[in-house]
């Protein structure tokens, strides 16, 4: 069944509610390998919930989610853990382990999930930190870093296992325009270098236009538009037009 799905990410009729509140309603879209889709929408429309469903942190009430051929919404335990090895996730807050140095934050998944030697891990961690411009900060604790540095470190950790799919939650949140642009540059670099498939939840249209190939627009838990940014500028829905237009 999984071999017949060519796209890297597939959401098929996904619905989710918390108590009586319907957060997502029959959301369906797919992302081909190497493409970046930016999910836009007003606050509380279910964008972050969509990402959490895609990584298997929560289960949908209905519908199916496939990531890199794995039926994420049906997997549990060890199988889910194995499937997650192919997915990178950048949290809104970066979610670095605050009692670990940057080096140890990046080394943890390599130590736990690969059979690499210490010297290989050292080399990979150094390379990943250098890539995000934090080579000189590897012995620092996350608390000693600025918001932008934490975000870059979070991105390095998300990419350290070289995932097929990268899920990004609000990459520019809490950052100034220049720092947000640096994060976008790193995402673009990753996309160009490894053809990583990306699903990016964001409020930053400027960044979304730089990184995203297509936009998916959510409103009140429903997918109301999906397409290239230029196509959506003339969309019949005013909400979509407002969300995809800069300024």
């Amino acid at each position: 069944m999984t071999e017949s799905i060519p796209a890297a990410v597939v959401l098929d009729g996904v619905s989710k509610s918390f108590g009586s509140k319907q957060v997502l309603s029959e959301v369906s879209f797919s992302v081909p390998r190497g493409e970046a889709v930016c999910v836009l929408g007003r606050s509380g429309t279910g964008k972050s919930v969509t990402l959490r469903l895609m990584i298997g942190l929560i289960k949908p009430d209905a519908g199916d989610i496939f990531i890199s051929g794995n039926h994420i919404s049906r997997l549990e335990g060890k199988e889910l853990s194995q499937a997650r090895c192919k997915i990178g996730f950048l949290f809104q807050s970066a979610a670095l382990f605050d009692s670990y140095t940057l080096h140890d934050n990046l080394a943890l998944p390599l130590r736990r999930l690969t059979s690499k030697s210490n010297s290989e891990i050292e080399e990979i961690v150094n390379r990943a930190l250098k890539q995000v411009g934090l080579a000189g900060d590897k012995h620092k604790l996350p608390g000693a870093l600025s918001g932008g540095m934490r975000k870059r470190a979070g991105l390095a950790r998300a990419l350290v296992l070289e995932p097929d799919v990268l899920l990004v939650d609000e990459p520019s949140s809490g950052l100034d325009r220049i720092t947000a642009s640096e994060i976008d540059d790193l995402l673009l670099e990753q996309k160009a270098l490894r053809q990583t498939t990306m699903v990016i939840v964001t409020h930053d249209v400027h960044g979304a236009r730089r990184v995203g190939d297509r936009f998916a627009v959510l409103d009140k838990g429903r997918l109301i538009a999906l397409g290239k940014p230029q196509e959506l500028e003339d969309h019949e829905s005013e909400t979509v037009r407002k969300l995809v237009m800069e300024n």
């Binding site: 997650r84 949290f91 943890l108």
Partner: protein, 253 residues
């Protein structure tokens, strides 16, 4: 009443999950070692100073009573027995419940709030095994060791207080302190603190791990951990003392 029973049920299941995960790989020895340092070594100053102070106070109280009966020679023995049998284990457990229980509850709840537990799961690491099991194991190992320190410091405090008043030599104090004291007076009460450690580790981890009330919940998890752990330690003590008396009838003073 329903929510109380629900809580007992949930904590019991949580504890069973801890025991089941103990035998599963990876064994998280590094994390356990680090938690032992955090809980055991860093609790030493608190436990030692409390033991010393309690030792002094205990001697002052018992002296004033025993003088009336001309039985001051019994002071070292009263001191050692009361520390080995009850004061050492119970006070060490209550101190650890306050310091470590609050710490575990707050730290794990904070990890939940700041999405670090989600991040651990996303990295394909079992967050329960990585965060909860090492903390419970560390509590189980650390508490009997801390109790031994508490007992030792209590005796030192007692000796300092007694020698200041009666100029009792150290050798005679030790001789009198251990005269008539059975191994069962020391070993069983010390080992029962492993159960206290399990209760403290499990209950405080439960409050932190299952917290879902945002930043406000962090403080709540810490407070609930201390209150519940202290209460459960005292209740468990009643049951364990009865069990010790059944298993070692000679240890009943």
């Amino acid at each position: 009443m329903k929510s109380f029973l629900q809580f007992i049920g949930n904590v019991t299941l949580f504890g069973i999950r801890v025991i089941a995960n103990l035998w599963r790989r990876p064994f998280e020895l590094g994390e356990t070692w680090s938690q032992l340092g955090e809980m055991g070594v860093r609790s030493l100053p608190l436990v030692s100073s409390s033991g010393l102070a309690l030792g002094v106070v205990m001697t002052l109280h018992t002296r004033s009573t025993l003088v009336a009966f001309g039985a001051t020679a019994l002071i070292p023995r009263v001191q050692s027995l009361s520390f080995f049998v009850e004061i050492g284990p119970l006070v060490a457990a209550l101190l650890v419940a306050g310091r470590v229980g609050a710490g575990i509850g707050a730290v794990i709840a904070n990890l939940r709030v700041t999405e670090q537990i989600d991040a651990i799961e996303v990295l394909s690491v079992d967050s329960f095994k990585f965060l909860v099991v090492p903390r419970v194991v560390a509590c189980v190992i650390a508490l009997p060791l801390l109790t031994v320190f508490m007992d030792a410091c209590g005796l030192v405090g007692g000796f300092l207080s007694e020698s200041a008043v009666s100029h009792l030599p150290l050798q005679l104090f030790i001789e009198r302190a251990f005269k008539g004291v059975e191994w069962s007076n020391f070993v069983a009460p010390t080992l029962k603190t492993a159960v206290f450690g399990f209760i403290i580790g499990t209950v405080s981890s439960y409050y932190g791990y299952t917290m879902n009330e945002g930043t406000q919940g962090v403080g709540k998890a810490a407070t609930n951990s201390v209150v519940t752990c202290s209460l459960l330690v005292i209740l468990a003590d009643v049951i364990l003392v009865k069990i010790i008396f059944l298993l070692f009838p000679g240890s009943a003073i």
